[in-house]
Symmetry: C2
Subunit: 375 residues, 2 copies
Amino acid sequence: MRTKKIAVLGCGLIGRTIATDLCRNYHVTSIDNDMDRLKEIENNHHVETIKADLSKKENVKDVIKDFDLVICAVPGFMGFETLKSIIESGKDVVDISFFAEDPFELDQLAKDKNITAVVDCGIAPGLSGIILGYHNERMQLESFECYVGGLPLEPKLPFMYKAPFSPADVIEEYIRPARMVEGGKIVIKEALSGAEIIEFGSAGKLEAFYTDGLRTLLKTMNIPEMKEKTLRYPGHIDIIKLLKEIGFFSEKEIEIGGAKIKPIVAASKILFPHWKLEKDEKEFTVLQVIIRGEGKRIQYDLYDEFEEKTKTSSMARTTGYTCTAVAKLLLENDFNRKGICPPEFVGEDQECFNNVVSYLNVRGIKMTRSEKPII
Amino acid sequence: MRTKKIAVLGCGLIGRTIATDLCRNYHVTSIDNDMDRLKEIENNHHVETIKADLSKKENVKDVIKDFDLVICAVPGFMGFETLKSIIESGKDVVDISFFAEDPFELDQLAKDKNITAVVDCGIAPGLSGIILGYHNERMQLESFECYVGGLPLEPKLPFMYKAPFSPADVIEEYIRPARMVEGGKIVIKEALSGAEIIEFGSAGKLEAFYTDGLRTLLKTMNIPEMKEKTLRYPGHIDIIKLLKEIGFFSEKEIEIGGAKIKPIVAASKILFPHWKLEKDEKEFTVLQVIIRGEGKRIQYDLYDEFEEKTKTSSMARTTGYTCTAVAKLLLENDFNRKGICPPEFVGEDQECFNNVVSYLNVRGIKMTRSEKPII
């Protein structure tokens, strides 16, 4: 049997981790517009490379035409258009770009092309949805709670935070109203609201606040209570609230010496050096999912750290390996539902769920599960 | 005897207060480039007005040529050049512009023109120097301490502060290293350092921190210990330190969409609406001066509030009336030392000192004095 060929679009932190994982079993080609990134991966791994500007539709279509599966790991702002091009090309795809648009707008197109397009396939959204999908298929659920965060192991004042992705995207989490489900209805929570300190085993006490991370679950699930919160070291949120209150995150232009500037753009630039994750800086990822239903409370806990041996960040491991676990399901025909498939669809199948969990396990990403009756 | 004619350059908050005070006894003309300001003062007071762009040297010289005394109340950035033009025109002057340059650079010029130029003639610098000059002439001083602040009576979070002058000038106080005298030597304190909470009678507990306010005293006094601190509500400085630490007060340009922007300029714009003193907003001024020497500790305390009847801010009252008190000394020939005269020179004379204190007293600005032996 011939080795399957995979195109990984985007060779950033996550895209690189995905490519180097998949290249152990498949024929992998990394595609990016940055030669330095491509050279680094080519020199160190069994990965071929193609230099291409993926912001151009025709380039995307041209470059993927000989592949069996595409991984879309481009920046969020170009994710939707890139995914559309992939689907139009009739290729199965796993997407990790976390674009802001509604992926179901591409559902009919994907079905017409008879392909599988798994979207939002990271840790949360991603693994959290796979877990929820598994249980939702098997019991009547009353509530879903998800807590997730990626943090530096040695936090520095004042922010005690490093962003594994761009500061602009982090600030976006701090200003976008967050959609939760209460009493079966979608409710809008103010950004940064709902702050509470929670203890997370190895990660210690962290502060959780509402973020708009339920995404597809708002459409696909029929559960009366659902909430998602992001985690930071205690104190971080107070500083962010202060900066926001002062107006540093405002999108209303101010005039400075003739130039029109959005405060949020200036703030993003000023915050960048504080939030930049240094090369090989140690960080960790926490995920906690709590599901209630039929008198039971089921809790999943994941704690993962930067991998010293391969110098791979925990955020790249947890996000990237969930993506590659699902890629393997598609490549081995274990998951072949057509159309747009968020992670919760993948988790519905017992075998798929088990495969993802054991795939992560093999890579050192352990998840504990505890179950107790609700009294 | 003909009524003396005074030109008041600048019709801002302080300039207006000076003009309306002096017009009770003298022939006053307000000069500014802003017609609205001029119309307002002309309609409500016995003040004549001239519209002129005082940033042009020839305009300054032209406009003041028929006056007996000039008050220089222009913005700080144009203060030095304006004062120079006034001195070149051979006019006595009291300056309240608080320019950054060293006024003694104009000393020889003022002496050559045989005129009196009192500079820095507000509350602190200003009244504080008059007090110090008085005692320094009469006893051997060991130390001088000055605490000063202008604050809103109803502080609002997060800053609990309103600026009676431009936010850019306030931020300047927060970034400029502060010069103190310790053991007879000038020492440089980091901006915002030396924070301590002190109780000030009616004003309650305030936080004091080093600012670069000793100015001419660094040259004119020979006192082994001198310090100056500015006052804010407790908590304000922590927020300012945070913003500074993050980089919002940096003068190093960043690039935003092609435009080069200094973070401090953007921050100043963003902070402006928070720090803007509203029309007729109630505020107060605190001044405490502590002088030690010859076994005595002498303390002066001034507390003054917004004047409801005339809608005059306390900052304008305390600054403006010190200026007009000294203007009266010049006009009545009670002070006629030639050259550049900082307030400490004015205070040296017993009669001048007494006149200033009683002038303020008549306008409701009371100062208490307490003296005790140092044990």
